[in-house]
């Protein structure tokens, strides 16, 4: 009895001296098997980051690019490959795929996000076979531990306004619900480079999410039910374009992209009360995604109805050093796709089984060996193997290795729809394949990485590097190197690979002042009809620097400062040398740097205000649109954006919370 009370007291003492450790923006693990970093919600507050697509500006693993000169949509790349080569999931349900590939990331508002997990390399087999260069999983705020009310308002000098409101309610001791309402609009026309075209689209988005969470610790049951509706409208093109008057005519060039989306998803999980290491999960998602759009005289409509189902069983072999996950997937996608008068409607379906074994010696070594077999109506029956290994050779050091295969059918129009904003003719040169006449894309990805934590002058530092290679066995090549009037799609003939090397160094310069730096080298080559070129619009060298400083919390008040520098080296540009000289780009773009800053003032746990600037150096792409003076002529091309079109932008916003 005496002993017992002593231990109780000592525990209380421990509680009292508990060190309040600051939450880090980016968390790197030294014990996870895969090369995964976690972006916490704190990191997401560092930039204006209105939506998921814009939330990676301070992240070394992901590069943010501009996809075209019209829509201002930010495209992301990992290991030098665009988002179709990534598996993008929301709470482990595939979210950005198929029809939503171009704009999907901009359909998740930033304030909804709890955290983002980024895995470089092959990734797990549990959610599918499509990922080639990495996986991005977003976790949304959970109803069970969310605050009752949250309000965020935002406005910027490019006349974009946003409003986010969250409501949360505990319905009973087991049920909780959240309602998220998001609206954004860009109401005024901007043409800072005086080319007669809008620099940013006019737009309106309404996005509503209602979710329910059930949690019963005693029985081990957990469940989620989500309903979501999204309606997004964009208008872009010439400043004087009026859709009612000018659509379908050559009066002036304009474009509208209207997307409506509805999602329902459910999850049910059961943890065996006697066996906390054993669980069953069953998730189902249905969504319908309907995009109606035109780009000048190009009409592009795509509607996708999808159903996804995943049954997962987790358990152990003998003990928790040997874990396994196994289960079944089913997916069904109905596409109604029209490119001008051509009908590309189709149905894709697949069923697959996966098994993943994890060995962890609970000390310094772990390995994940995964495999899956799928039967897909277009891709056939195929096997997807994946391997990850981790070894800690000494304290605070970690070496990782991964290898794996990915296979996917390229949605060539949805993924390259920025090319519709040009006078290019679309030609598919092969016709014997099963996906638009093309064969499925198949690639192997291998990677090694090393990371080490240490101290310099008694301050925390870490450094690391990684090297990844992606080898395409087949690729749906998108060829803009042949002619400025054409885009060609064909099966890879020859070689295509992507090598990426990254070196990272992070250091706490002085107390509360953190420096994050990363240098990235990419060598991405593809054999085109005309020869071997670097992938267009990809910089060979990139550099990221981020400085963050925050004052200590004093009477609940705090200042936070953030500065980010993104430097991008020269980029291979699409071939335009056969155009008249005023409608040409050089072979390579110039290098440039973009700087962002933000200051946040926390007045209390309830209220904070932030102001910031994007691209404060005011770097602009000199010529954004080729043939802007004759948009229905043969040289018009708004798809070549290698740098920001809009110059400097300043914004301000506030956050209000009721806890």
């Amino acid at each position: 009895m005496f002993l017992l009370s002593v231990s109780v007291f000592s525990q209380e003492d421990l509680e009292e001296v508990k060190i309040v450790k600051k939450q880090k923006g980016i968390k790197k693990s030294y014990t996870l098997t895969a090369n995964t970093t976690v972006i916490t919600s704190k990191e997401l507050l560092k930039a204006a980051c209105c939506n998921l697509a814009e939330s990676f500006e301070t992240n070394p693993s992901i590069d943010v690019n501009f996809s075209d000169a019209l829509t201002g949509t930010k495209q992301i790349k990992m290991l030098g490959l665009t988002s179709p080569y990534l598996m993008i999931t929301e709470e482990n349900i595939p979210s950005v795929r198929g029809a939503s590939q171009a704009y999907g990331l901009s359909f998740t508002p930033g304030t909804w996000i709890e955290s983002v997990q980024i895995t470089k390399g092959a990734g797990s087999v549990i959610n599918g076979y499509e990922s080639i260069s990495g996986q991005i999983n977003t976790e949304l705020l959970k109803p069970i531990n969310d605050i009752p009310f949250f309000l965020n308002a935002y406005g910027s000098t490019d006349s974009r306004f946003e409003l986010n409101t969250h409501f949360n309610k505990k319905l009973s001791d087991k049920w909780s619900t959240s309602l998220f309402l998001h609206g954004n609009a860009r109401v005024a026309k901007n043409d800072m480079n005086n080319d007669g075209f809008l620099d940013n689209p006019l737009g309106k988005q309404v996005n509503i999410l209602n979710r329910y969470q059930f949690y019963d610790a005693e029985s081990g049951l957990v469940s989620f039910i989500n309903f979501r509706y999204m309606n997004d409208k964009k208008q872009t093109g010439e400043v004087n374009f009026d859709p009612d008057r000018d659509r379908g005519t050559t009066n002036s060039w304009g474009s509208e992209i209207n997307t409506e989306r509805f999602d329902v998803s459910t999850k049910i999980g059961y943890v065996f009360p006697d066996m906390p290491y054993q669980s069953i999960g069953f998730q189902n998602a249905f969504n319908t995604h309907n995009q109606n759009s035109y780009f000048g005289l190009n009409q592009y409509d795509i509607k996708q109805n999808s159903f996804y189902s995943n049954l997962i069983f987790n358990s152990i072999i003998d003990n928790t050093m040997n874990k396994f996950t196994t289960g079944l997937n089913f997916s069904y996608d109905q596409y109604q796709e029209f490119v001008n008068v051509n009908d590309y409607s189709r149905i894709d379906n697949s069923v697959g089984a996966f098994f993943e074994y994890t060995y962890d010696n609970t000390d310094n070594f772990s390995v994940i060996l995964g495999g899956r077999v799928d039967n897909h109506n277009r891709l056939g029956v195929f096997v997807t193997p994946r391997l990850h290994m981790r070894y800690n050779p000494w304290k605070n050091g970690v070496i990782r290795f991964s290898a794996g295969r990915g296979k996917r059918s390229a949605n060539i129009f949805a993924e390259n729809q920025q090319l519709f904003a040009s006078s290019r003719t679309f030609s598919i040169l092969d016709n014997y394949g099963k996906v638009y006449g093309l064969n499925p894309e198949i690639a192997w990805n291998y990677g090694v990485s090393f990371s080490q934590k240490f101290k310099i002058f008694n301050k925390n530092a870490d450094a690391g590097f990684d090297f990844y290679r992606t080898d395409f066995q087949n690729q749906a090549v998108v060829d803009v190197m042949q002619s400025p009037q054409e885009v060609l799609f064909y099966n890879l003939k020859g070689k295509s690979f992507a090598n990426s090397f990254q070196f990272e160094f992070n250091y706490e310069l002085i107390h509360n002042l953190n420096l994050r730096t990363a240098y990235k080298y990419y060598d991405i080559q593809t054999d085109y009809l005309k020869g071997t070129f670097q992938r267009p619009l990809q910089a060979k060298h990139r550099f990221l620097g981020n400085l963050e400083y925050e004052t200590n919390l004093k009477d609940d008040k705090q200042w936070k400062f953030d500065y980010t520098l993104n430097w991008s080296g020269k980029q291979q540009l699409p071939y335009t040398a056969s155009n008249p000289s005023q409608d040409q780009f050089p072979e390579f773009s110039p290098s440039y740097a973009v700087m962002n800053v933000q200051v946040t003032r926390v007045f209390s746990p309830v209220f904070e205000v932030y102001i910031g600037g994007e691209n404060i150096g005011n770097y602009k792409q000199q010529k954004a649109i080729l043939g802007a003076d004759d948009p229905f002529g043969p040289n018009f091309d708004a798809s070549i954006a290698y740098a920001p079109i809009f110059g400097q932008m300043y914004y301000a916003g506030l956050r209000f919370k009721i806890k």
Binding site: Q11, I316, D318, M321, T362
Partner: protein, 113 residues
């Protein structure tokens, strides 16, 4: 009063009878194990996992509690305690021999009671 004792006895009898006929495949067992550091944690857990039938083991550095789930058809808590002691760590039930204790790394030489 008599009634209560009777009920207590019956339920106790019932319990022990059940325990004899049906061995628990997922017995949750927690005991106190003496140790100091992260290195001790690794050693204690490794010793626990080495006992056939131990499904999961986790030792807490601050509370010194070792939480285990084991299959009684394959091993008993006594086997577990013996294995931990063999690795040099005193448990509430079994003390390590002096030579096993002496084999510990210097930073792991916890204060013995």
């Amino acid at each position: 009063m008599n009634k209560i004792i009777l009920i207590a006895m019956i339920s106790f009898l019932g319990f022990s009878a059940q325990a004899q006929t049906k061995k628990n495949k997922n017995l949750k067992y927690t005991t106190e194990v003496n140790g100091n550091c992260e290195q001790c944690k690794k050693r204690i857990e490794k010793a626990a996992y080495a006992v056939p039938g131990v499904k999961t083991a986790s030792w807490d550095v601050s509370t010194h509690q070792l939480a285990v789930i084991l299959n009684e058809e394959k091993c008993s808590p006594a086997d577990l305690n013996a294995a931990i002691a063999k690795a040099g760590h005193d448990t509430k039930e079994v003390k390590a021999t002096q030579s096993d204790y002496d084999n510990l790394h210097s930073c792991c030489k916890y204060d013995r009671e």
